[in-house]
C-alpha cells in the first residue's frame, strides 16, 4: 500500500507539468501572473483558444496571430509527419524484411551503419544539407523536410521492422517459396499481413518523432514551413503565455492519443527493437 502511494505520487510529479500547461491555457492573465501561482482555483477562460484559432476579432488584422497562421502550423506538422512516415515505412519494410531474412556478407556492417546514422548530431546533417538544398531549391519545401525526417526515422523503422519480421516464422516464406511464389509476392501477401501490427506501430512512432523534431525543421523550414516545435519556440517572444499554452495543448493532444494506442510497443520502439515489453 505504501508502495502504491509512493508510486502514484511519483507519477503525479511527472504529470504535473502537463497538467500545469493544460490549465494555463484556460487561465486569464490575472490568474496566470499571480503570486503564489494559482494551480486549481482559477476562473476558466477560453479566450486563448479563440485567439489561437483566430476567432477573436480583436487580433484578426495582425498577420502574426491570425487564424490561418497557427492552424496552418499544425497542418505543416501533419503533412511532414505523415509524408515522412509513409516514405520511411516503404523503405523500411523492404530493407527490414531483407535484413531479417537474408545472411549476407556486410550485414553486420550495414547494421552498424544504420546505428551510426542514428548517432549523428542533427546539426551536422542540417548544416551541409542547408547548402545542398539551397542549390537544388529544396529549402523551405515540404519535400525537403519530408526527406530529412525520413532519414532521421529510418534507423528506428528498419531495425524495429526487422525485429517484428523476425517474429514471423521463417517456415511461412520458405513454404510459399517452394510452392513457387515470388519473393516480392511473399512479402506483400503473407508477411506484411502477419506483421501489420508492427508496421502500424512503426508508422505511428515515426510520426511522433517527426512531430517532435526541432533543429532540422528549424533550418530547412524557413518562412513558409514551420512545424509545431518551431512555432512554439517563436511564441516565446510573444508575451502571451495563455496563447502559447493553448497552442501547445492542442498540438500535444494528438500525440498523446497516438502513443496511448501503441503503448505496448513503445519501449520496443525506443530501444530500436531490442527490448520487448
Amino acid at each position: 500500500m505504501i508502495r502504491k502511494i509512493l508510486a502514484f505520487s511519483i507519477a503525479l510529479i511527472f504529470i504535473f507539468p502537463i497538467f500545469f500547461l493544460i490549465t494555463s491555457s484556460f487561465k486569464n492573465n490575472i490568474d496566470l501572473f499571480s503570486i503564489p501561482p494559482k494551480l486549481f482555483l482559477f476562473n476558466i477562460d477560453f479566450s486563448a483558444y479563440e485567439r489561437v484559432f483566430g476567432f477573436s476579432k480583436l487580433l484578426k488584422f495582425d498577420p502574426s496571430y491570425g487564424e490561418l497562421y497557427l492552424t496552418s502550423r499544425i497542418l505543416d506538422s501533419l503533412i511532414v509527419g505523415i509524408g515522412s512516415s509513409s516514405l520511411t515505412l516503404i523503405i523500411g519494410i523492404y530493407a527490414g524484411y531483407y535484413i531479417s531474412r537474408a545472411n549476407f556478407k556486410y550485414k553486420n556492417f550495414l547494421i552498424m551503419s544504420i546505428l551510426s546514422a542514428r548517432m549523428m548530431p542533427l546539426i551536422s546533417i542540417a548544416i551541409p544539407l542547408y547548402f545542398v538544398y539551397e542549390k537544388i531549391n529544396l529549402l523551405d519545401t515540404y519535400v525537403g523536410l519530408i526527406l530529412i525526417h525520413t532519414f532521421i526515422n529510418l534507423p528506428l523503422a528498419v531495425l524495429l521492422l526487422k525485429s517484428f519480421f523476425d517474429e514471423v516464422p521463417k517456415q511461412i516464406d520458405e513454404n510459399a517459396f517452394i510452392d513457387g511464389a515470388s519473393k516480392i509476392k511473399i512479402l506483400h501477401k503473407l508477411i506484411i499481413p502477419c506483421a501489420k501490427g508492427g508496421i502500424a506501430v512503426t508508422f505511428i512512432l515515426s510520426i511522433i518523432f517527426s512531430w517532435t523534431e526541432f533543429i532540422c525543421a528549424l533550418m530547412i523550414g524557413q518562412m513558409k514551413i514551420k512545424t509545431i516545435p518551431i512555432q512554439a519556440s517563436i511564441m516565446k517572444t510573444i508575451p502571451s503565455w495563455d496563447m502559447m499554452a493553448a497552442f501547445t495543448t492542442i498540438s500535444i493532444i494528438p500525440v498523446f492519443i497516438m502513443i496511448l494506442a501503441v503503448r505496448k510497443h513503445f519501449v520496443r520502439g525506443l530501444t530500436l527493437g531490442t527490448v520487448k515489453e
Partner: protein, 297 residues
C-alpha cells in the same frame, strides 16, 4: 549466425541479390549521412569571407580556431557535463522508480501509461512549459525555492550562470527519466523468477539480490538504454534553444547550439567544424560502446 539455424533449406533469400531490397535504404544513407559528412569536412576547410562575399579555402584555420576558442571548450564542457549528469541521474532515478513499479498490479500499469506521456511531448514544447514554470517573476519553481529558502528573494534560475544549466537539466530529467523507467521495467518484467526465488530461500538480502542478480541480468537492457539516451543527450539542442539560448553569456552553450549559433552568424565553415567535431566524438564513443558493452541487434 547461420550455423545456429537448423532449417532444411539455407535461408531462401541468400541466393538473391541484395541490391533491389536495400537500394532505397543505402541511397538514403549515402545522400543524408555520407554526403553531409564529406560536405562538413569540405566546409571545415573553408570559411565565408564577407568582404569577398564568397566561401574561400582557409586551410586549417577553422581547426586551429576550434582548439584555441574558449567558448568552444566551454560548450564542450557543458555538453559533457550535461550528458554525464543527466545520464547518471536518469539511470539512478529510473532504476529506483522501475523497481518500485515492477508489479503485476493493474494500478502500476496505469502509472506506466502516465509515464509514456512525457516522452512524446516535443522537447521544444517541454522547454516552453518549464520556461513558464521557471520564470523569474511569476514562475512556480523559483517561488517554491524562495519560499523554502533555497534561493534568495532576488535570485533567478535561468539568468544565473551557475543555476541556468541545472534549470535546463531539470527539464531533461523530467522528460526522460520515464524513458529509463519504461525500459528498465520492461527489462525487469522479462526476467525469470526462479533465480530470485532461490536467492530469497538462501537468505540473500534485497540489496545483494539487486547487486548480484538483477544488475547482471539486466546488463543488455541497461546498455541499450545508456546508448540511446547518451546519443540524444549529446546532441541535445532544443531545451537550451528555448530556455536560455545559450545564456547567460555563454554559460549554457552545448556543442550543437554553438554550432548552430555560429552558422547563423554566417561563420558557416566554423559552425560546420564544430558540428563535425561533435559528430566524430559520438561516432567513436558510440561504436566503441556498442563493441565493448556487447550490444547486439
Amino acid at each position: 549466425m547461420a550455423a545456429q539455424k537448423s532449417y532444411s533449406l539455407p535461408s531462401f533469400m541468400n541466393s538473391d541479390s541484395s541490391l533491389p531490397w536495400l537500394l532505397p535504404l543505402i541511397t538514403m544513407l549515402i545522400v543524408f549521412a555520407i554526403i553531409p559528412f564529406f560536405y562538413n569536412i569540405y566546409l571545415s576547410f573553408h570559411e565565408f569571407v564577407p568582404a569577398k562575399r564568397a566561401l574561400l579555402f582557409v586551410g586549417w584555420d577553422n581547426w586551429i580556431r576550434l582548439f584555441t576558442d574558449g567558448v568552444f571548450w566551454g560548450s564542450l564542457k557543458v555538453s559533457l557535463y550535461y550528458t554525464f549528469m543527466c545520464l547518471l541521474i536518469q539511470l539512478v532515478l529510473g532504476m529506483g522508480i522501475a523497481l518500485l513499479i515492477d508489479s503485476d498490479d493493474p494500478g502500476f500499469g496505469i502509472i506506466r501509461s502516465i509515464l509514456t506521456l512525457t516522452l512524446v511531448i516535443p522537447p521544444a514544447i517541454a522547454g516552453m512549459i518549464f520556461l513558464i514554470m521557471e520564470d523569474a517573476n511569476y514562475g512556480l519553481i523559483p517561488w517554491l525555492l524562495k519560499s523554502v529558502g533555497l534561493i534568495g528573494p532576488e535570485d533567478t534560475i535561468l539568468a544565473d550562470p551557475t543555476l541556468a544549466l541545472w534549470g535546463v537539466m531539470i527539464v531533461d530529467i523530467w522528460q526522460w527519466t520515464p524513458f529509463m523507467v519504461l525500459i528498465l521495467v520492461a527489462g525487469l518484467r522479462s526476467l525469470p523468477s526462479e533465480p530470485f526465488e532461490s536467492a530469497v530461500i538462501d537468505g540473500a538480502r534485497p540489496f545483494q539480490v539487486f547487486r548480484r542478480l538483477t544488475l547482471p541480468m539486466l546488463h543488455k537492457v541497461i546498455a541499450v538504454a545508456i546508448l540511446i539516451r547518451g546519443i540524444d543527450l549529446w546532441r541535445m539542442v532544443d531545451y537550451v534553444f528555448v530556455l536560455t539560448s545559450g545564456g547567460p553569456g555563454t554559460a549554457t552553450y552545448t556543442l550543437s547550439l554553438y554550432s548552430w549559433q555560429r552558422f547563423t552568424f554566417v561563420q558557416w565553415g566554423y559552425g560546420a567544424t564544430i558540428s563535425l567535431f561533435s559528430l566524430i566524438v559520438i561516432l567513436i564513443v558510440g561504436n566503441a560502446f556498442i563493441h565493448f558493452a556487447k550490444v547486439k541487434w
